[in-house]
Structure formats: C-alpha cells, structure tokens
Amino acid sequence: MLKMTHLSKVYRTEVVETYALRDFNIDVKEGEFVAVTGPSGSGKTTFLTIAGLLETFTGGTYHLDNLDVSNLDDNARSKIRNEKIGFIFQAFNLIPDLNVFDNVEVPLRYRGMKALERKERIMGALDRVGLASRAKHYPAELSGGQQQRVAIARALAGSPRLLLADEPTGNLDTQMARGVMELLEEIHRDGATIVMVTHDPELAARAQRNVHIIDGQVVDLAEDPRFHSAYVAAAGQVRG
C-alpha cells in the first residue's frame, strides 16, 4: 500500500543542508495499522506529509497503492489525496465557518460527486462516528473529542485506501483519547490501512506494528545497540 525506498528529504539554505529524512525505508501492507513513533524533530511529521503527498521529497522512490508518485504534478497529487488518502490531524483542522455537515463534505466537493451521493456518504460517516445528530452544529459548539470525531468522519467519507493520522489524540484528554483510539481500531478492523504518528507509547502499543524514527531514519529498537536497553525498559513499562 505504502512503500518508500531510500527516500530522503533535504531542506537546503545557502549555507546548510538539513536532512529531515535520510535513506528512509518503510513498507506498509494493505490493511495494516502501523504506529510511527520517535522523539520531537525526528522526522515523523515530515514522513507523514510526504506520505500524504503534501510535500515532495528529494531522493528515493515512493509507491502508493502500487503507483510511483515521485514525479506527479499538482493536479495528479491532489486527485490522489482526494480519492485515496484520508487525513486526521492533531489540531482537528476543521473549518470554523462550516458546520459539521459542510466540513465533512469538503473532500467530496472536490471529487465532483452529486449532491445526493454526498449527503448519503456524509450522514453515513457521521453516523459511524456517532455524530449524525450534530450535523448542523459548528465546530466551536463541539468538544475536542467530538471535533476529532468529525475530522475522522471527514477522512472516512471519501472511502480512502489509506488513513494518515498525526497525533490524533494529542489535543484530547485521556477519556476522549480512548474513545478516538477505539474508533480508529474499529475502522482498522473494518479493513482500513492506518498509519498513525504518535508520541504516546501506550497508543503505539495498540497498533499492529511500530516503526521508530530517529534522526530521519527508521530504526529497529530491539536490534539497534544504541537503543536496546531503553527499549527493554520502555516495553516493560507499557506491559506493566
């Protein structure tokens, strides 16, 4: 579903080159739920924005749903984002002027879908996240957890092949975070491929597979001698 090979992302200024990702390799299979973890500044969000075709990369290859997306123009990238990818952001990123219904409608509008089909999909997605009764409410009238559920409904409405979540519970309290996580797990059980960036080892542990990024590279915590002892300690805490 998502395969990056020897991928690199370099930010260049006149005096310095900064590698956000370096020789980055990842292969996410269809139907997998992968958690991407790592310290701040390790390159997690850069990986996610490149995976979501929001940003270009400097070297390497990237295949999404068996399509090489390295050299696509803006229109083609937008079309793939619209049809194959669903985004869930830490800050929800709902549009404050639009009510819940209209927020969920945004990606469907750019797909040129007929009004009746849009309505069916929107209400179906809202029903799935338990907010069908709040369709006419505005984001400011909802709690953080409800706003994130609306964002998830917006991501689901277009039936994407890949769901990218960036710290989806980062702005929520524990109870709300648990609810959102349970919703993601349910969506995964229904067959969705999910890649979730998170700081939280407890959330990461609920994913099928963990990928750890340090200094722009994927590392195997269990095998890499630099992190082995820390990994064992952290794993013990999570189990305890």
Binding site: E55, K79, R81, N82, D97, V106, G112, G158
Partner: protein, 441 residues
C-alpha cells in the same frame, strides 16, 4: 462548483463585516468617481450622429493666407468658418448631396397670445437641405423646400419646446409667427431636437455654450431682412462697409458650412472642386498665396476644434488614477484577508483541492466584493452625476446622465477591476504550502 464558491464567498465576507465593508466602500467610491467623470466625458466626446458622421464634411478655404496665421497659431489651418461670398458661392455650385451654410440668430418672437410678452429665442438661419442632411426629426410638418430657399420664403421651423410655449404643444403648422416684426409661416415642428454638442455649428456655438435651438429659418430670408449674426465673427482686417451689409461684403468669417458626401469618390470630387474654386479665385486676383484648403469629416472636425473640454479629460484621468489607487488598496486588503485563511487553504489542499480550485474560490470572493462595490458605486455614481455641476460648467454637467449602458458598465468595471486587483492575493493564496500550515497547526 460555482454555487459552492459563491456560498463560501458569502460566508467569508460575513465573517469579517468590518473589513468587507471597507473593501466595498473603497471599490464603490473608486468606481463611482471614475464613472461619474466618464459619464461627463462620454456626453461631451461621443459621436453626436454616429450613423452619418463619416459622410458629413466641413470645407475650409484659406481666404486669409499667411496673414491669417500670424497670431501665434502653428497649425497653418485656414479659418474655421466662411465669409459670405464663399458660403453663397459653394451653395450655388451645389456639389454635395446635401449642403447648408448657416449662422446663428437670436431674434425676438411675438407670441400669438396677446397676453404674453415678446421673447428672445435662439436658432439658426440655414438652407432647406440642412434638415435632410442631419436627419432632423419632425413632430409636425417638415422643412421648407428648395424653392423656399430660392424665393427667400418667410417660413420657419420651430422646436417642440417653443411650440409648447407658443401653441400649447398643438400642431402649429400653417400658423403665423411674428419674428423681429415680420410674419413667418410655421412649416414644421421639430421633435425636441437639440443635439449636444451643437455639432453642425461648433464655430458659433463652441459645441456646448449656446442655449436651445428654438427655431430655424431660411438663410436667404434671414439675409434679406438683415437678421444679424449672433455667433462669432473673425476678421483679418477691418471691414470696409458698416453694419450687416458691410459684414457680408467683408472677408470676415462668420458662416458655418457642412456638406454631405456619400463615398470616397464624392469626397475626392468635392476636394477637387474646392481646390478648383480656390484657383479660380486666385486667378481673379483675390488671393496671392498657395492652396491651403481642408475638407474634414465630422469626427476629425470636432477633434480639430477641440470640442471636448480639456477639464473633462483631466477629471477623467484623475478619476481613473483614483480608481487605480482604490484597487491597489483593495488588493492589499484582499491579500491580508486571504492569507489570514492560510490554515483553511492548507486543509482544503490536504483534502484534495488542486491549486486551481483554491484560485477560483478566492477569485469568486474577490468578484463578489467587486459586484457589491459596483452596486454601491451605482448609487454613488447617481449622486455624483447630480452633483457634478459643482465642479464643471453647468452646460457640460447637465449633459451627464445615467442610462442602462452606464449601469452595466459600472458593474462590469467594478467586478473586472476588483478581480484584477484580486489576482495577486489569489495567486498567493493558491501557493500556500499545505504541509507547512498543517505542521504549524
């Protein structure tokens, strides 16, 4: 999608009413200032007889020679009017389809109602072909015929306004009118014909400064009765004779002349005739300088006579400058407004909006500001046109008016200009990097 973009534009404009009102005010004032000035400019610079102006010509004969150009004039142009001798000679030779010599008169008229006092009226002494040449519309009756010119008929054509004043607006054809103490028979009533500029005689009217054209009477009759010239008279030397007869015998120019020529061949033939006439006069010893005639069509003639007042051109330029300044300000406000929504743009891009979709969305919003500003501009233009006599001469200001074409033009200019002003802000909005915005959030 247009409906969606319109809906988004309305929501966006409602979200920041203060900023929206400011932009609409700026566009409205800018458009109103330029359209008010344009309406004046249009009124004074438009073709007064567009269906025929290219077939109407004004001949000029250089009867003064170099001494007539010694007053600092650098264009070497012949006098812009004719003396009596040449005007009558050209009428007698009758080389155009229609032609008329004319001069401005201002006689007094004794109303048929004995209770009314005599009134001064303005008008022209013309030949009968004047009416056919200029497609003058009649409400009642018609012009006198060619025999009326030949027989110096005591006939008169009056305008509808004078007909209303003297005869209550009824059909007055056949009635008698006392003009300067002599009886004239009314042969026609014009259908409120009072073109501005008075293109047929800009020499004697300046185009705009004369009053109403109340009446027209035969040139030959006016000369017979000594009805004096109420227009301009220019002389290169002091007339030898005195009075109106002395004027007719002098080389002073005071008679306007217009001729209708149907095609290029007719124009060429008339030019040859005019040059031949000059050579004949030169051979007879009247002139001793080189040929220097002119034959301009009406648009070229109005241009050469500077009929369009220069202050209307200047005010139009100033107003257009103001519009540009307003649009630059609008562009700045739009830029600030659009970039404040970078977060929304980032989300839309992440959810699949291509750059073009963002571009169109914000361009529609700019267009809506322009349309609303245009509606406000219409109201302000209406106010401006009614207040333009504060800054321009009354006779010029009174020509400005609001009509459908001005309404449509105001709206189109407002929308197009605002969308042009919105091009850069819209371009910047469409270039917002979604990854950067989403990372920032």
């Amino acid at each position: 999608m247009l409906g969606y973009y319109l809906d988004l534009a309305v929501r966006s404009l409602k979200r920041s009413p203060g900023l929206t009102a400011l932009m609409i005010l700026i566009v409205g004032f800018g458009v109103a200032a330029s359209m008010t000035s344009y309406s004046v400019f249009r009124a004074v610079s438009g073709d007064p007889i567009p269906w025929k102006s290219s077939r109407l010509f004004v001949p000029q004969i250089d009867i003064w020679g170099p001494r007539g150009h010694a007053d600092g004039s650098s264009d070497n142009d012949p006098p812009d009017a004719m003396d009596y001798t040449d005007a009558v000679a050209l009428m007698r030779d009758h080389r155009g389809k229609y032609q008329s010599a004319m001069y401005r008169v201002s006689p007094s008229v004794v109303p048929p109602d004995p209770h009314m006092h005599p009134i001064n009226v303005g008008g022209h002494a013309v030949y009968s072909e004047f009416f056919a040449m200029l497609d003058v519309p009649f409400q009642f009756g018609g012009a006198w015929g060619a025999d009326g010119d030949a027989k110096h008929a005591a006939a008169v054509v009056i305008n509808s306004k004078l007909n209303q004043k003297l005869f209550g607006g009824a059909n007055s054809v056949g009635k008698t009118l006392n003009i300067d103490g002599k009886d004239y028979r009314v042969v026609g009533v014009l259908n409120n014909w009072n073109p501005k500029p008075t293109f047929f005689d800009v020499v004697n009217t300046g185009g705009f400064t004369s009053g109403q054209e109340d009446m027209f009477l035969p040139f030959t009759r006016a000369i017979d009765v000594g009805m004096s010239n109420d227009g301009n008279t220019n002389c290169s030397e002091v007339p030898k004779g005195s009075g109106f007869v002395g004027l007719q015998q002098s080389s002073c120019v005071w008679i306007a002349y217009m001729v209708q020529l149907e095609d290029k061949a007719a124009v060429s033939a008339y030019k040859d005739y005019l040059d031949g006439y000059f050579r004949d006069q030169k051979a007879s010893g009247r002139f001793n300088w080189a040929l220097n005639n002119r034959l301009r069509d009406l648009p070229a003639w109005l241009e050469s006579e500077h009929v369009v007042p220069s202050d209307t051109k200047i005010s139009l330029l100033v107003a257009l400058g103001l519009l540009v300044a307003c649009l630059v300000n609008t562009a700045g406000l739009l830029l600030a407004k659009f970039l404040r929504r970078s977060s929304e743009i980032g989300v839309r891009r992440a959810l699949g909006a291509p750059r073009m979709a963002i571009y169109v969305q914000f361009l529609v919003e700019a267009g809506m500001v322009g349309l609303t500003g245009g509606v406000l501009g219409l109201l302000l233009t209406w106010v401006g046109i009614h207040g333009v006599n504060w800054v321009l001469p009354k006779e010029i200001a009174s020509l400005a008016h609001v009509d459908l074409s001005l309404l449509a033009l105001t709206l189109v200019i407002a929308v197009v200009a605002t969308m042009l002003a919105g091009l850069y802000p819209t371009f910047r909005a469409s270039r917002v990097q979604p990854a950067l915005q989403l990372k920032t959030n």
